[in-house]
């Protein structure tokens, strides 16, 4: 294992990486039950890291040390978990009630096929058929209590506490990537590549975090353990770059597909460190990497927990934009993923303590 020493060794996103993303997207890792993704992560990074451990909450914490003197400790975080369901009641004959884990809308559940439990047993979310509904009923959205998970027949393989997620198989379609849980397997796949190609003048502290979707819980303890000089969070954010029907101009697009990595200035949990925002923009400009500023507003990433840890950790988030996150299928662009990986890899390669020399 040697650290990369010149820019030709920067990570690239190609067919091999898309295949890894496919495996990650098809794996099931609803918050609190991240084992399946963790297994893939551990297999991928073990040969490339100096130190790998799984902490008490299930975070994978991997360190890859540089070789030069006076190295910055840089934490990179990507959450492994995804939104989904948890089985709460067994109503016999293969019917189950469930609760929602993370930010999932009941609108996205109607009649979806789900993978249930560690064996990915398929089931269907049942609801009253349209034939039998009254016109007034159809105007009202379903609530989670209207649904049952229907396994088709009685089974002893589904237990209360099991998680379920959308039964969506990943597809690489032209310039686009389509699959479930691209939020945040795109970030996980990016971080795996960055661990494999780490520059010599930093100590890379990679946190593959758990329980982000239910309140940044894994990142909080991961940042405490690493206590880095700065942190970059790799995540996925919605693109709502669809035509606006009611006004002339779409004012709330959040991000746009094909416009490159989305750099965060502010979300509901974090005001990014302006020094790091400026640095990423400079790196993008110097290397002619397209980027966009995510529209400031709601939402959040692991940065919300990381930046307040201990005495404060300068933090910024970079997301790969995707349409329809937290539903059965998201669409992202391969080019945005490549540009995101390229931006962060170049940023790490050129990083010096000078970045944080001035006051925030």
């Amino acid at each position: 294992m040697t650290n990369m020493t010149d820019r030709t060794q920067l990570p690239r996103i190609g067919d091999e990486q898309v295949e890894l993303l496919e495996r990650l997207s098809n794996a099931c890792a609803v918050s609190g039950d991240e084992g399946e993704v963790r297994k893939i992560v551990l297999e991928e990074i073990r040969p490339h890291a100096d130190d790998v451990k799984v902490d008490a909450l299930g975070n994978v914490l991997a360190t890859r040390r540089g070789s030069s003197e006076r190295r910055l400790c840089v934490m990179l975080a990507a959450h492994m978990d995804e939104v989904g369901l948890m089985i709460t009641h067994d109503e016999s004959d293969g019917f189950y009630r469930f609760g929602i884990v993370g930010g999932l809308s009941a609108i996205d559940l109607t009649a979806k096929v789900m993978w249930v439990g560690k064996e990915h047993i398929p089931g269907v979310i049942g609801v009253k058929p349209v034939h039998l509904t009254e016109p007034d009923e159809r105007k009202k959205p379903f609530s989670v209590d209207d649904f049952r998970l229907d396994m088709g027949s009685s089974t002893d393989k589904v237990k209360v506490g099991d998680r379920a997620t959308f039964a969506t198989t990943f597809v690489h379609q032209g310039p686009s990537l389509r699959g479930k849980a691209l939020d945040n397997r795109l970030g996980v796949a990016t971080l795996i590549e960055l661990v494999k190609h780490s520059p010599p003048h930093i100590d890379l502290q990679a946190a593959f975090t758990v329980q982000e979707e239910i309140g940044l819980r894994g990142a909080r303890v991961a940042a405490y353990a690493f206590n880095p000089d700065l942190a970059i969070i790799l995540d996925s954010t919605p693109a709502y770059d669809l035509p606006a029907w009611d006004v002339d101009e779409n004012l709330r697009y959040n991000t746009r597909l094909g416009a490159g990595p989305a750099i965060y200035i502010a979300d509901s949990g974090t005001l990014s460190d302006p020094r790091l925002v400026r640095y990423l923009m400079e790196i993008a400009a110097a290397n002619k990497i397209p980027y966009q500023i995510r529209q400031p507003g709601g939402g959040g990433t692991d940065a919300g927990a990381v930046h307040k840890q201990r005495e404060g950790i300068p933090s910024v988030s970079v997301s790969i934009p995707g349409r329809y996150h937290h539903s059965s299928a998201a669409i992202a662009r391969l080019s945005d993923w490549q540009n995101t990986c390229n931006l962060v890899a170049n940023a790490l390669f050129d990083l010096t303590p000078q970045v944080l020399a001035g006051e925030r």
């Binding site: 709330r252 502010a266 005001l271 400031p296 507003g297 005495e311 006051e359």
Partner: protein, 333 residues
Amino acid sequence: MKSLIQKLVESSGPSGYEGQIRSVVRAEIEPYADELRVDAMGNLIARKGTGGPDGLKLMLAAHIDEIGVMVTQVDENGFVRFTTLGGVRAYNCIGGRVRFLNGASGVISLEPLEDMTKMPTFEQLYIDLGLSGNQDSPVSIGDVAVFDRPFLDLGARLVAKSMDDRIGAAVLIETMHQLKDTPHALFFVFSVQEEVGVRGATAAAFGIDPDLGLAVDVTATGDTPSRTKVRMEVSLGMGPAIKVRDGGMLADRRVVDWMVRAAEKLGMQYQLEILEWGSTDARAMQLTRAGVPAGCLSIPCRYVHSPSEMVDFNDVQRAVQLLVELLSHPVNL
């Protein structure tokens, strides 16, 4: 002290971007501090005293950030859409003026309302910079601005934007100035990002690891025209308020009693404060590490989070007097 207050409230420091106000405060406190530093979040931390055998490590916090707005988009015609930093309310924005950190100014207006009985949402508001297109806009996505409103001296009462919490900063600065001797190691923290969730004080409290924490911040009052019968028991001009509780903290009873005893010893008028919402940096101090006894000295303030927040100058001066008394003697909780 009024000129100090004017200097502080007429500086800009929206949450996360406190550089300008921090340099103003730093210039004021440099003569009184034994040691100064700025931490990773941007908190300005000044130590005074080293602490004797009867001394504690005390953290005193007043936040230097203020509520503000941030650009989300400059539209095709140069109108600026924005989101909020902290508890900005739409009805306080309309017709107001804002000033960006780069000096650009604009006015906030709103789209025609379909229903005049409903409060507009922020999506219906925009900032007009007086441009005829978006080509030469001096602002872009992510830029931040604060209310633009000059200091108003009404004699006994003072009015300005960002009294929350520049008045707390003024109280701490004046206390550092007047305090002759202390048995304690005092850490005066001019904290950042309070308005977005006491984020700066969270990091500062962890770093300082104090024995006792005290925030100085504003609190609301119940002394203005209102049709509700139940009113908050705090009024302007009735003395500084000693916080008993707010939406995020039950003040340590021993810290409350400590402040009450000192006020009574001085024969000073004071009020006890129960605020049913909101919170202060004291919450962050109380919950850091293994927990810290914490409380808050509040300056009563009308119209909090509006561009015209009003305080009573007498309350402010008495707050300084009380703090000087508290910090001059050993603390026996």
